[in-house]
């Protein structure tokens, strides 16, 4: 204890260099734990995008691709599912609920999703949270649209605003369904998932806006059907893109999956969201690990900075060591003194780093949640983060051994003669 106080006072005496060393250690710890925190939270919020869904149904395609377009609204389906197949699957006895998803239209860069009321009743994200409305409610009328929180915010939409949907992913004038505008009837609460970045209409609405289109192109002049007239027509969907399935009993998952994969009338795929998510995360994981590696390197650089500072301080401290030896300090004390300094530097560095992290988390939490949909929990340090900090402290002590041993050797060799 005495020695630790001595080490601390000696450190204060060299506060300029000590502060710089401290700064480099705390920033490297901030980076390390910050990256780790972001990594786990990103993974968590990624996995939270969808929950409660047992199977995702799509035309035959890759697992990751199906997950991407059905849940993350990224990329396109190569094939559709016929309405008949969808109804067959929906009628399977083990199926509890099913959410149809029809993709293919967009609005100013945001996806338009054709679905039905089951989306609002059955879709779950996070820890079993369903969709909630910030304003208004689900679509009722044919030309009603519900918008995600991010859509409403970035486009400044309010209830009652008119929305024109465009065909395909790019919003260009000739492909707009300008003759059949929608009316905003609901704005979803922010969820921090891709849900925020989409618009929702009924399957019938998707059918209605395409009712006069031929071969994927706008109607020839004079043949377009006005919005009111379309209401009167048969708007039974012809096809959908994907469907989310909830089963009555989870235990039947593989059985239903096999039945779907072997569906005779059309090549279909059913995937387990959890499996697909972890496959996708495996792809992202490389970048994520690289990030962690870089922050580990930054910590190493910070510790090398401390090593340099300690080693270069030794020469000016040889006098101090001789004085301590003359009043009865053992070479082991001299060793412990430098060790204590390394310990004090790494410990305070790590603590300030963590404090900085919480300051940064607190001030940027909203920004990160809005921008990236990652919810940074204001929780204490996780076991894994504590382990990382423990490793940093251990590395700091290991780094301290070198200058401590050198000081020990010097104090043995110098004896009581003061050398400078």
């Amino acid at each position: 204890m005495q020695l630790l106080i001595l080490a601390w006072k000696s450190l204060l005496n060299r506060r300029a260099t000590a502060l710089l060393t401290l700064l480099s250690i705390s920033f490297s710890v901030l980076l390390l734990v910050g990256v780790e925190r972001l990594r786990t939270e990103a993974r968590e919020s990624f996995a939270n995008t969808i929950s409660g869904t047992d199977l995702i149904l799509g035309a035959r395609s890759g697992t990751v691709q199906l997950l991407l377009y059905s849940v993350f609204h990224i990329g396109d389906a190569t094939n559709n599912i016929s309405w008949k197949s969808y109804q067959d699957i929906a009628a399977m006895p083990r199926v509890d609920w099913i959410i149809p998803i029809a993709l293919g239209d967009s609005h100013r860069g945001f996806r338009v999703i054709g679905t039905d009321q089951s989306y609002f009743t059955h879709y779950r994200h996070g820890r079993n949270q369903s969709l909630t409305f910030a304003r208004g409610g689900p679509f009722q009328d044919l030309y009603d649209v519900v918008v995600g929180a991010e859509v409403a915010k970035s486009l400044g939409y309010h209830l009652g605003d008119a929305v024109v949907v465009a065909h395909g992913a790019s919003d260009v004038s000739f492909a707009r369904h300008a003759d059949k505008p929608f009316r905003v009837v609901g704005i979803l609460e922010r969820s921090g998932t891709p849900l925020d970045r989409a618009l929702y209409v009924s399957l019938q609405a998707i059918e209605a806006i395409h009712v006069d289109w031929r071969n994927g192109g706008p109607p020839p002049p004079g043949q377009s059907i006005p919005a009111g007239q379309a209401r009167e027509m048969d708007l039974t969907p012809r096809a959908i893109t994907a469907a989310l399935i909830g089963l009555k009993a989870r235990i039947a998952t593989f059985q239903v999956q096999r039945r779907i994969n072997e569906y005779p009338e059309e090549p279909l795929t059913a995937i387990l969201p959890g499996v697909a998510l972890s496959q996708l995360w495996g792809l992202v994981g490389v970048a994520e690990n690289a990030l962690l590696l870089v922050s580990v390197c930054v910590v190493i650089v910070g510790l090398i900075g401390m090593l340099t500072a300690l080693l270069s301080s030794l020469n000016e401290r040889r006098r101090e060591m001789a004085i301590l030896r003359s009043v009865g300090a053992r070479p082991a004390h001299v060793f412990a003194l430098i060790m204590g300094e390394a310990f004090a530097l790494t410990t305070t560095g790590a603590l300030t780093g963590v404090a900085l992290l919480y300051a940064v988390l607190f001030s940027t939490r909203q920004l990160i949640e809005y921008r990236f949909g990652i919810h940074l929990a204001q929780t204490g340090l996780s076991a894994h983060e504590l382990m990382l900090l423990g490793l940093v402290l251990l590395a700091g002590l290991l780094v301290g051994i070198l200058p401590s041993y050198r000081a020990y050797r010097l104090s043995l060799a110098d004896g009581l003669s003061i050398r400078v």
């Binding site: 005495q2 204060l12 006098r319 030896r325 003359s326 009043v327 009865g328 004896g415 009581l416 003061i418």
Partner: protein
């Protein structure tokens, strides 16, 4: 060993504070012999002046007396304890308990206050702490008493950073540190060489007074022969040291 009252081998005077016999020392194997002392005896209460040219091995001798280094051959006995037979930890304890040391200059640890510097030996030795507390209520009081004896009375002086003190003031703080807890042996390695001649003499007189009060034996080293008359005995290293290197250093 700690705390044991130094004992004396039969046939030796209990007044021998230091006994050296047939001692040789070299810093490293292959380096020239620095010391070759057939015999050196110093008695309790003596005030010894050891004189020698620069490089003749004065500081080396003091390091041997303080038990920081070990002789190559021969016996070295301090306060009845054979230092050459003690382990390094025991020698460190021995030094902490029984020896006060004053260097030539820069004696003080820059980041400690005056009083903290004076109390440093009490941090490493229980014996000296207990002895310091014997005639004072607290360690601080004893430190202040010693500083007062050494003419460091100004209270503002004590609050200043030690690096801002004059050299003479620093040396007096160092003397107070060496004297706290009344060590039996006070070793001073040219403590006055950076003082002017007036200050030099008054410093030495203060040191004498405090040594007498504490009952400490003083071994004082210098190459300044003009101080010699103040002491009750002078040892010329050139006369007692047979090593060739020392003769060369004497020219």
């Amino acid at each position: 060993m700690e705390g044991a009252v130094p004992k004396h081998a039969p046939g030796q005077s209990p007044d021998n504070v230091i006994r050296i016999r047939d001692l040789t020392f070299r810093w490293k194997l292959g380096m020239p012999q620095v010391l070759d002392l057939p015999s050196l005896v110093i008695d309790r209460g003596e005030r010894i002046f050891i004189e020698g040219a620069s490089g003749s091995g004065k500081s080396t001798l003091l390091s041997l007396l303080a038990g920081v280094i070990l002789p190559e051959r021969g016996e070295i006995q301090v306060l009845g304890e054979r230092l050459d037979r003690l382990g390094s930890v025991q020698r460190d304890h021995f030094r902490a308990h029984h020896i006060g040391f004053v260097f030539q200059m820069f004696n003080l640890i820059p980041y400690l206050s005056v009083v903290e510097n004076v109390l440093l030996p009490c941090r490493f030795s229980d014996q000296r702490r207990l002895r310091a507390l014997r005639d004072a209520d607290s360690l601080e009081a004893e430190a202040l008493r010693l500083l007062r004896q050494l003419d460091m009375t100004d209270a503002t002086l004590l609050r200043r950073p030690v690096t801002s003190l004059s050299v003479g003031q620093q040396q007096r703080v160092a003397a107070a540190r060496a004297l706290i807890g009344a060590p039996a042996l006070l070793i001073a390695d040219e403590p006055t060489s950076s003082l002017d001649s007036d200050r030099r003499e008054s410093f030495i007189r203060l040191l004498f007074d405090e040594c007498a009060r504490a009952g400490s034996t003083l071994v004082f080293v210098s190459h300044d022969a003009s101080l010699e008359p103040l002491f009750n005995r002078t040892l010329r290293l050139s006369e007692i040291n047979r090593s060739a290197a020392a003769r060369r250093a004497e020219g």
